[in-house]
Subunit: 87 residues, 4 copies
DNA sequence: GCGCATTGATGGCTGC
DNA sequence: GCAGCCATCAATGCGC
């Protein structure tokens, strides 16, 4: 006995899309705030005499290393799959 | 009575840079997670029959509108300042 | 004794932008063709019994390694600069 | 009188995959160079007073238009085929 | 048809 | 302060 204009969770259709948009906007706001926080940490490091550019390089480097490990695992799994050792 | 090799919060210099890097990495991780959350909301919207591309356009549009409002307020404040109504 | 509406290489202004666009379009076409060539090599490798997905991983991996070397040099130069050994 | 471990063009198996990879890498290098050329043309256009962003839009627009033409021709051919006018 | 990989576009940061 | 550079993000295209 469903009611036209309402979906399973009780929200009317117009509200559902509104809800999605608001959730996204809330998350985007959160992301922006985190980005701001990061900038502030760099600024603080700079005021402590550290070279921001180098700091960025270090962080980027470590991130790539971490990605590399994940990538290694992915390619390793691929090899295993290709010889039928992984399914 | 400060001690060479230690900064005000008690951490040795080597630890200080380490601390900055770790704070940044923690925040970057947080940012990535939020980005993932956003993607998931879009995916959920899609599975509810919404067109993701259009949804993105709506969100982007609203973001631009919000920016314009902020911009207008900033300009408005500038006017107020220029006539000495805001300090 | 320059002539209005003509630039140094003798083309009228309207033709100049046309010329830029055509050069770009020619280059883009070239790029597309090269991309097609790459695809064909992968297809050929596949028909020789190689796993394309793994092949792609290998190529990507080698590319990243090469990038890594360049990046190493860049960060090394940065360090040198930061201690005034490079100007 | 073929020899095991060698394929038709005389290369041993290990060399064959190496050959594929090198061909791909050579082509990728070519592609990167063309991409660089494109950037340079944009830069040149910019130094001639053109707005790169707008220029990009024009090129993209024309690319899309060309695609549509190709698409229409393809559909047109399909129609011709369906009525037996093209085989 | 979907997910992934690439590519194009935009915005922010850094260095003149 | 702006221009060039880089990093991120959206969009398209491709292969499965």
């Amino acid at each position: 006995m469903s009611e036209i204009g309402h979906n399973s969770d009780g929200a009317v259709q117009g509200d559902q899309i509104k809800s999605f948009i608001e959730r996204i906007e809330r998350l985007e706001e959160e992301k922006r705030e985190t980005a701001t926080d990061i900038k502030e940490v760099y600024a603080e490091a700079k005021s402590n005499g550290y070279d921001v550019k180098i700091l960025r390089k270090i962080v980027a480097r470590r991130r790539r290393d971490a990605d590399e490990v994940a990538e290694e695992e992915a390619i390793f799994d691929l090899y295993l799959q290709s010889i039928g050792m992984l399914d």
